[in-house]
């Protein structure tokens, strides 16, 4: 009886990853991709995405939910890369310079985002989601109208022919995969970008270490209960802003890594979907709105991107229409986020009513005695 409960509990806690394992298990044989192709794709995508997804962990720790505002960091990374490619600095120096340049932009954007989220406590997620749309407007204003006319941009390959504004795609051909190719190792036909993985490992170590620092502990306390944390003398507002700023800066780095792998910037659309895909991948790994670990990130990337690679082909095999698979994977990404949000909210409500019952019980006992 008890064992059965345990199994059920495990199933309930890991609904999303299990669902994904089933989807992947069904789709992989149907799609007919070879194992080495799949492995290659997955490893590439791990190198490309994990850093970005890790950026989501810190706001979850401080109880601010899924940071849809990571798009802001992505924008900062893009702006930095636009400057670097305008100055024609390529290769590793270009990547490093872009990362350094993105820091101040990310800090400003992150501080703005954090300030607003402090004004909207309790609905951080929807607010950060709208912030990402709002900043997208500002981003367009800067990149499409101010760059070249107010902000000096000289190189013709970056600037629109009309004299101001940035082209729809900025080619990063000269720094394409320069991080990934340095120290790359081939194992049985699978290219492993060792340096990128080393950077990711460093970030993981940093996050593990950060959790134990005073600031990390403060963030966890704020995440547990803001009022208790405030009573304990923690500056709640400041801690929350720092956690968003850190997330934004990391997202900026992540975007630089992501784009150097892709080899070009889709100036007006690269950032718009990134938040959604990163969040979906994290949730697929078994994370929830208030709890996420590094393990969730890795599992999530593997499962989510396997689905992403095989779904269009499998859909085409089953229905004879390749668009079905395309739509299917988009649907699954959204459905996963919806499911995770619903599960989180129901759990929170159940917990709340349980607490209320407990309090009632205690009061009854107190009045009885």
């Amino acid at each position: 009886m008890k064992k059965e409960n345990k199994v059920l509990g495990f199933l309930r806690d890991n609904t999303v990853p299990i669902m994904f394992i089933v989807i992947c298990a069904v789709c992989i044989p149907i799609s007919g991709f070879s194992a080495s192709y799949l492995m290659n794709e997955i490893v590439t995508r791990m190198g490309r995405n994990i850093f970005l997804i890790l950026a989501l962990l810190i706001p979850i720790m401080s109880g601010m939910g899924l940071n849809f505002g990571m798009t802001l960091g992505a924008m900062a990374g893009e702006i930095a890369l636009i400057f670097v490619s305008d100055w024609q600095i390529w290769g590793i120096p270009g990547v490093v310079l872009a990362m350094i340049l993105s820091i101040p932009i990310s800090i400003v954007l992150g501080a703005f985002c954090g300030k607003i989220l402090n004004m909207a406590k309790g609905r951080e997620m929807i607010t950060s989601y709208i912030i990402s749309f709002f900043m997208n407007g500002i981003y367009q204003l800067i990149v499409l109208y101010m760059m070249g006319s107010i902000i000096p941009i000289r190189h013709f390959s970056v600037k629109l022919p009309r004299g101001y504004g940035i082209r729809n795609t900025v080619s990063l051909l000269n720094m394409r995969q320069c991080l990934d190719n340095l120290l790359a190792v081939r194992v049985a036909g699978v290219k492993i970008p060792v340096l990128t993985f080393l950077i990711i490992a460093l970030l993981c170590l940093f996050i593990v270490w950060f959790r134990r620092t005073k600031l990390g502990q403060d963030m966890r306390a704020v995440g547990q209960d803001m009022n208790v944390a405030r009573d304990a003398g923690i500056n709640v507002e400041r801690t929350r802003i720092i956690s968003i700023v850190m997330s934004t800066v990391l997202a900026g780095f992540g975007m630089v890594i992501y784009l150097q792998n892709m080899g070009n910037i889709a100036t007006y659309s690269s950032h718009s979907q990134i938040g959604m895909f990163c969040i979906a991948a994290l949730l697929v790994g078994g994370a929830s709105v208030d709890r996420a670990s590094i393990g969730n990130v890795f599992l999530g990337v593997v499962l989510f991107h396997t689905m992403f690679i095989v779904a269009p082909k499998a859909g085409a095999q089953i229905t004879g229409d390749s668009m079905i698979g395309e739509y299917f994977r988009v649907f699954v990404s959204y459905a996963v986020i919806t499911l995770a949000l619903v599960m989180y909210e129901t759990k929170k409500r159940k917990h709340k009513s349980l607490m209320a019952q407990q309090l009632q019980q205690e009061q009854k006992e107190a009045s009885a005695s």
Binding site: R123, I126, I130, Q140, V330, E345
Partner: protein, 358 residues
């Protein structure tokens, strides 16, 4: 002497601040901006009357979808970011009505009739979900909308539609991304009693239809059920103590909102002349949400006047900025202005402190 002067100064400033606070600074800026656009329009050679009729036309297309926000705000479910769900019921009604062979004005009536059961069923499911997750409605509503739109993307391809006006010509199956309504219900409301004076044209029928629904909504909010719904929104504990079934009221408001969204998209289509499928409904909630907020609503308070003022201001900016700005500075910055103004407005509303925290 000095003291009294200070005092009057202070009160004047206070009064001004009070006005700005009550009206909302962003709202003031947007209204002033629109006014400026109207004043500037004749000087830059954009026909004033044409601009006015454009605005009125777009108002008539969109007003019902903005009206759909009202019931859920009243019952305390927040802004209905899940509007696409209702839009999908409307699209199902529209496509099925054409598939079943109705033409002309009948097709519009049938579209409404067919969309209604879909809206009620989907709305009940949606309402049931929102009742389970009180407090987190807005985020989940957003994603319910997104999931349903992407799910229907598959369905539009897979459902066995056959009408040659709607499916892809060469494949013989799968609906097109845009379907022309010519011969069906294109301008069916707009051309009813249409007024044309010089450059000004007013789609009287559509406006009347909106007025009818808006009046219906106003009257409903003043019935016993409507008052109970408002009570649920402003103080659920009190409403529960007064014997109101909170969950049922919220469910009713969600169904109502979903149904209005379905009707709203049908009216939009008859004005626009096309049915847009697949990813088109994806972001349709955001303009409606920001319109009602610009009109003076907040996350938990909204009236019919907010709907009318908001839709007019929002659609005014949408229609005026491209023409006026283009002529003025030869840059098409309308998209940026629209995004910043509408999202800024939503952000402003979300960061306001609301009395009733659920």
């Amino acid at each position: 002497m000095n003291e009294t002067l200070d005092k009057t100064n202070l009160t004047l400033r206070d009064r001004l601040r009070g006005f700005v606070d009550s009206f909302g600074l962003p709202r003031l800026i947007i209204a002033a901006f629109l006014l400026m656009l109207y004043i500037a329009a004749p000087f830059v050679g954009a026909g004033f009357w044409m601009q006015i009729s454009n605005t009125v036309n777009r108002f008539s297309w969109n007003a019902i979808m903005v009206l759909a926000m009202v019931p859920m705000i009243h019952s305390g479910c927040g802004l209905n970011f899940g509007l696409p769900l209702g839009i999908i019921s409307g699209l199902l009604g529209a496509t099925l009505s054409i598939e079943l062979g109705f033409t002309g004005p009948t097709s519009f009536l049938m579209a409404i009739l067919i969309a209604t059961p879909f809206a009620v069923v989907l709305g009940m499911g949606y309402g049931w979900l929102l009742n389970k997750i009180k407090g987190g409605e807005m985020m989940i509503a957003t994603y319910v909308g997104f999931s349903s739109v992407s799910f229907m993307c598959m369905m539009w391809l897979l459902l066995p539609y056959h009408s040659p006006t709607m499916v892809w010509g060469y494949a013989g199956k799968g609906l097109r991304t845009t379907i022309s309504l010519e011969g069906f219900y294109d301008k069916v409301l707009a051309s009813f009693l249409q007024i044309n004076i010089g450059g000004l044209s007013i789609p009287t029928g559509t406006l009347l239809f909106f007025a009818l629904l808006a009046f219906g909504m106003w009257a409903f909010l003043h019935t016993k059920t409507g008052t109970a719904m408002t009570a649920v929104g402003s103080n659920p504990t009190f409403a529960k103590a007064a014997g109101v079934n909170v969950d049922r009221m919220r469910m009713l408001s969600v169904v109502l909102s979903t149904w209005l969204a379905a009707i709203g998209i049908l009216v939009y289509e008859q004005g626009f002349g096309f049915i847009q499928l697949y990813m088109a409904p994806f972001y349709m909630a955001l303009p409606a949400v920001s319109a009602i907020l610009i009109g003076g609503a907040s996350v938990n308070k909204a009236s019919i006047a907010n709907v009318i003022i908001g839709t007019f201001l929002f659609q005014g900016i949408v229609t005026m900025t491209p023409t006026v700005m283009n002529n003025m500075i030869h840059m098409d910055m309308s998209e940026v202005i629209r995004v910043v103004a509408s999202q800024g407005m939503i952000l402003y509303a979300l960061t306001r402190k609301t009395e009733a925290t659920k």
